[in-house]
Symmetry: C2
Subunit: 254 residues, 2 copies
């Protein structure tokens, strides 16, 4: 895990019993993965933990020390099982209390809503660790927060996505990773051997093979990733040549 100056890395921490029980199917990891790839940031690790302070503290501390950025989702609502803010404060060893900026945002929000009292439960959403910046929430007001390199976001996908848009301009993007996909039309067992040779000859391009099944067809997408367009193009030409050879061999068998 050598660090390189222009490689920016990230981890996602999903917090919530409902994901682990299967009751809710996570949609946030895939969204954040795509989003970070677009920004040129490498997502390196994902963890899902339960609504348990010790588990959250351990994961936050492991991930924030290892990667450039950490993004958490879930556990910042008004109920007793929303313990993310308190757990992140504990992970950093800082205090937490109702935050004046967050209280003002929520007060204004509930003032506009008939029959929605700004009660103690809702005030819990203004609990922010000392020293954190707020993350704007254009969907439902209650803010997330950033403490050093840890970004704490909501679990509801539409809210999380709005928070990512608020965070994006504050991130230093790495150089963009460019990717290129070739559908080989061949089974993974056929392409595997020659593909390993192409990988050896082009070490600065990351080459992956992804088998798929559609109906009766077993075939393989080959994906190349690099930050350097010319190296990507050279590897792609090598793969096209390799596939042409393999198809000639296949036809010769009939």
């Amino acid at each position: 895990m050598a660090m390189n100056a222009d490689i920016i890395t990230a981890a996602v921490l999903v917090i919530g019993d409902e994901i682990l029980s299967g009751r809710t199917k996570d949609k946030n990891v895939g969204f954040i993965a795509d989003y970070l790839t677009q920004l040129g940031i490498d997502l390196k690790e994902v963890r899902v933990v339960s609504d348990d302070e010790a588990a959250i503290v351990e994961a936050v501390n492991a991930l924030r020390k290892r990667w450039t950025y950490v993004f958490t989702t879930g556990g910042i609502g008004p109920t007793h099982d929303d313990i993310t803010a308190d757990s992140v404060a504990a992970a950093f060893g800082v205090g937490i209390d109702h935050d004046a900026r967050a209280m003002a945002i929520l007060e204004a929000h509930y003032a506009k809503m008939p029959n929605a009292e700004f009660n103690d439960a809702r005030k819990r959403m203004a609990r922010i660790p000392f020293g954190a910046d707020l993350i704007e929430n254009k969907v439902s007001s209650a803010p997330g927060f950033r403490l050093e390199n840890v970004h704490v976001m909501a679990g509801v996908p539409s809210v999380m996505q709005a928070m990512m848009d608020a965070i994006a301009p504050t991130l230093k993007g790495g150089r963009h990773m460019i990717s290129l996909t070739i559908d080989s039309g061949l089974g993974e067992g056929i392409v595997a051997g020659p593909l390993a040779d192409v990988q050896k000859a082009h070490p600065s391009v990351v080459i992956g093979s992804y088998p798929y099944i559609r109906g009766d067809i077993f075939a393989t997408n080959i994906v190349m990733r690099s930050r350097d367009q010319s190296k990507l193009d050279t590897a792609a030409s090598a793969i096209e040549a390799m596939l042409a050879d393999l198809k000639t061999q296949q036809q010769a068998q009939f």
Copy 2:
């Protein structure tokens, strides 16, 4: 994380750069979560790591020591980036080689397939750590394996699901967790306060609240989980009474 004799726990380890880049959206975690819940096994942690031996070894060793069972997905195909079997062998400190049982299965499989040679790449799929049991693959033959409490499965969902079916009879199921969902019809900020009181009064029932947005409606599902039906029923009655009170209060405001 106290261990209780009739609590059986598990972790899932997803291995693959394609999930972290966003190119492939994971469907295996949700399936395994549901499956384990049905078996009465508590999924406690999920990790996603890249195709990197050091990362896989660290995650396998952290998870296998902490939880009853570990289930991995991905990285057991025939290509150079399929390094799960070798990494799991390294995590356990055991050797690995072509396994006679796996070679026989794959030989028989490819003998039936015209134009599919049982080449060196495909023979890679027979590399199994010493001391492991095979996990049957009814979809595409290449087996998974179990080493102590770690179950190594394919990443392609249909293959992984067939392997789970093969594994299930070998697992000691915990007592089934029973769950009950009540749609409160109310916002999370309204139910949060009284719900915390119900949770305090019923500590052996795990009560979660899950806000949802459907069109213009912001409301909350309340989910109760317990291994004891009568305790679950008692908590459910308390929540029904709480919701009736809240609705009376809401109507009184008009």
